[in-house]
Symmetry: C2
């Protein structure tokens, strides 16, 4: 059959080693700054691959799977990470998929029950875990050991293993002594290479698999002039966590472009980020608005040299206009990008297009505040409630549907979710948007009832179920209300079942806190007489948002350490 050879990640690392053996990978870790080059990186990735092959996770090994899903997902063993952004995590990015195994990046900020669900769902066979995240993982294992039945080993990302009940080996011991070359197999481009779960409206996160082809496609897509192109003189610092859709694909595209990598490590503070920008000459960085709000405050109060920084990519939520202006004043172009776990993730990028480049600043600012222009290679449509496409006039709105080579067409082993979330080959994004005559997509509402706080999803429905399970609650609705630092925070509105409403807020928040991480706990629980209903008897969330979303009920109530990151 005619065609080229398969699209896999292999050529990107091969090329970086050939052309840029001395270009650096810099990593802030628990052990301090680590610095090596592509050549050494390639050696260590090969050592990891050899260690994985020795452990039985090579090309020929198919996924062992309780649910009998081999035919749906004909990949190799699924190996998980539970890590922040550092060089060892980056080594798994090429090392795991390159052998034919599948890299499953777990979000360590999730509630324990979610972690348990997805490890069980994915049937992970190894978990790579950061020392600082080990207690969190131990808690999840202790609380639900059955979910971890398939896990054969825990690899702690460091030189040694802290005291733990888990059957753990240190990463450096795991790869030590392995050969520094590996005979990378010729993989099918359909082979699952990555896996990332997304939290939706319901309690069960949904897995999105990334095939080798999807990762190749996304890499090439964002390397195009209207993506987030990275050249060999760029220095790229992904602040977006590597468990969030492969840090938006930047570790792959930076390698394809031959750029220098900078990984900011566990829970970087604004001062850490500023220091890395200055010390390493970062030219491009990326993360959610909360991160840049922190950096902004830091820059205002300290003498920070941002002169190396060209582009600051913002995703997850929209950046406030003041932030765009602030960074413009400091010579840094803030670029919006929109995407989802399902879109691998970048779908639109808000560059100023030809014809607008000469427009006045306010006009350009208005465009840049939108989610942006579709990346070449993808297609979208915007449909109203009747399923009709709406005009691109900047006024008419509808749900954004998107399709393309790096947009998934299914959820992992969840046919009912696949059935619900896709139509005519398009992913139904749940984002309600307008498209202006210049083609800029702007999110104006969310069709799905979820809350995004500091770049992390909180399921309002799950919180409502939990609240309504409490004996003192008759009805409960949870809505996201705007928040300056976290973009959104959850607010609970409850109808008490009895008369004793006085101490209900504190007791319900304690109730949630027992089951969920602090950052899931609603900032406030307000008792009301009745939840407004729609004509079909459902909770009228829109009416609640209209009434309660001025922010005064949550402002100042969330402590910094309740943050998702």
């Amino acid at each position: 059959m005619p065609g080229g050879s398969p699209q896999t990640l292999r050529p990107f690392l091969w090329r970086a080693r050939q052309l840029y053996p001395e270009t650096e990978v810099v990593s802030r870790t628990h052990e301090g700054i680590v610095r090596y080059d592509y050549d050494a990186y390639g050696d260590r990735v090969a050592q990891l691959a050899n260690a994985l092959a020795s452990a039985g996770y090579g090309e020929g090994i198919e996924a062992a799977d309780r649910a009998g899903r081999e035919s749906e997902s004909p990949g190799g063993a699924r190996l998980a990470t539970f890590c922040w952004n550092h060089h060892r995590h980056f080594e798994t990015y090429f090392g795991v998929p390159g052998t034919g195994a599948q890299l499953h990046t777990i979000n360590p900020l999730l509630p324990d029950k979610h972690v348990q669900y997805i490890v069980e769902n994915a049937a992970d066979r190894t978990v790579f875990v950061d020392p600082s995240l080990l207690p969190k993982l131990e808690g999840a294992v202790a609380d639900g050991p059955d979910a971890f039945e398939t896990v054969e080993r825990y690899v702690v990302m460091g030189e040694s293993v802290p005291d733990t009940d888990l059957d753990a080996v240190a990463y450096e011991s795991f790869i030590d002594g392995q050969p520094t070359s590996f005979d990378w197999p010729d993989l099918s481009e359909d082979r699952p290479a990555g896996l990332c779960y997304t939290s939706g409206t319901t309690g069960r996160p949904k897995g999105v698999e990334y095939t080798q082809q999807m990762l190749w496609s996304h890499t090439m897509g964002i390397q195009s002039p209207q993506g987030i192109p990275l050249a060999d003189d760029d220095v790229v610092m992904p602040v977006v966590p590597m468990f969030h859709v492969n840090a938006w694909g930047l570790p792959f595209s930076a390698t394809a472009g031959g750029a220098k990598h900078v990984y900011p490590g566990p829970k970087p503070e604004p001062a850490d980020l500023a220091g890395l920008i200055e010390d390493e000459g970062v030219t491009v960085t990326a993360g959610v608005p909360t991160v840049w709000l922190g950096l902004m405050e830091h820059v205002k109060e300290n003498d920070v040299d941002l002169s190396s920084l060209d582009r600051l990519v913002v995703g997850g939520s929209a950046a406030p206009e003041a932030m765009i202006r602030f960074f413009d004043d400091h010579g840094v172009e803030l670029v919006h990008a929109w995407g989802m776990t399902e879109t691998a993730p970048v779908g639109t990028v808000s560059e100023v297009k030809h014809g607008l480049a000469e427009a006045d600043y306010e006009t350009r600012l208005a465009k840049r505040g939108k989610q942006g222009l579709v990346v070449p290679g993808l297609e979208f449509r915007v449909v109203d409630d009747e399923g009709e496409e709406v005009p691109h006039d900047g006024e008419a709105f509808g749900e954004l549907h998107v399709r393309g080579p790096w947009v998934t067409t299914e959820y992992f082993a969840r046919p009912e979710a696949t059935e619900a979330e896709f139509a005519d080959g398009y992913l139904k994004t749940g984002d309600v948007v307008t498209v202006d005559p210049d083609g800029y997509v702007d999110i104006v509402d969310r069709a799905k009832d979820v809350i995004k706080s500091g770049g992390e999803w909180i399921s309002s429905q799950e919180l409502e179920n939990e609240l309504m399970a409490h004996e003192d609650v008759a009805e409960a609705a949870v809505i996201g209300v705007p928040h300056e630092r976290w973009q959104e925070r959850p607010l609970a509105l409850v109808v008490p079942s009895g008369d004793d409403a006085d101490s209900l807020s504190d007791s319900l928040r304690d109730h949630i806190r027992q089951q969920y991480p602090d950052w899931w706990v609603p900032d406030n629980v307000v008792t009301i007489d009745e939840i407004p209903k729609t004509a079909t008897g459902k909770f009228n969330k829109k009416a609640l948002r209209d009434e309660y979303s001025d922010g005064s009920l949550v402002e100042g109530r969330v402590p910094d350490d309740a943050a998702p990151e």
Copy 2:
């Protein structure tokens, strides 16, 4: 099965229409300058698609094929073009593959017998032909009508049909009245979308099919920072003919990038090119060195404003260093690219990499004179005669082998050629190269015995066979010798079978001229006593090249109208 939706050309045109409806396509034609925008282009492409569907070339139609090759090439009808670079040809680029049919771009400069062979081999069902090329095509049909048995219609690229014996319709009549929208089908990415024949060492050209995926991949590959990225403020003029590997893919990548297109039409003279650069503000152009030699001479003698021009991409053969310096002096960056029909075509691009950007001019010039750095997404190896990979030290040489998503893995219906030209998944390019420690590939020799004149291949073996078929010739060898304008020209070295060598040169050249186009005729036929042989008894071409390649035997002998373009 996990994965994204198929990689096809459809999103590129869809996006250009959405975002850049007013960006122009400008075309120099037999009828003068034609100018319209992406919106009108999209309308006309849809009209073409509707006309093709009406003619029975829609998605569901599989290729009718004498040789019973359906299973090897499961595509649609093959429709050929026999055209220069203009807007109608560009309309076929999206219109034909978009319906599910396969666009077969024929090189009208080929000898008639080659045209006959490839039309028959491809079983083309329609031929789109330029009015100025109609006599050439008529001649090929008249001389070998059986080869054209599958051709159902000839579509003449214009408003009307000149007097002809062929069953022809004018392009404008063909699409007239068709709807300006088309329901573009969801095609498999494995579907053949293009077809281009390459002339090799033997007489029979070999077909290379481009699947939708290969064209998508090549487009994204050359849009990356180290390819030939085209942005929405670029104005792109492909001078390289559209029958040469889709004009190096630029019509597709320009559309993906939202750039303005400029097509220079039939046989543009240097003055035409200079005029288009000035009038249309061309920023990027591409072609073989012969073209730029012509422009260079024109610029020296005339007052030409090249200020809009940023990049001049040179492929097909290496540009002389003086040419690089000349364009540098005029603020135009000459960029070498290397590729083949089999590589769709771009494989390397000679950008100055990071770390060399600050080097002195002569150092950068030396790098830029090489074929360049491999484009991200591809892999190569360089192997010596023993099949061992050679070090990348700029000294050791071997044959370049390349593989990747836009590198073909077979020839169209030619398993014996596929067997010969591929190894371990790599295409054996036939180019003998060195790779320096910076990764720059440099062609130092050609493993295959072919001649490349003005960007077009001439088969030395075929000419030798033709000469040796002459009664007055005992032995004949044809070699390519350097030529200032055409880079190479053929020189024949013959051993007469009798004593009458005096008028042999003229009579043998007449003999070749009867069978081949003027530009295939050796510039000189030199009689010698004996052809040197290798140890295994083969013609020692290397010894001949060493002795006769100073150029004095051919210089000044080829008239301008014997040029391939």
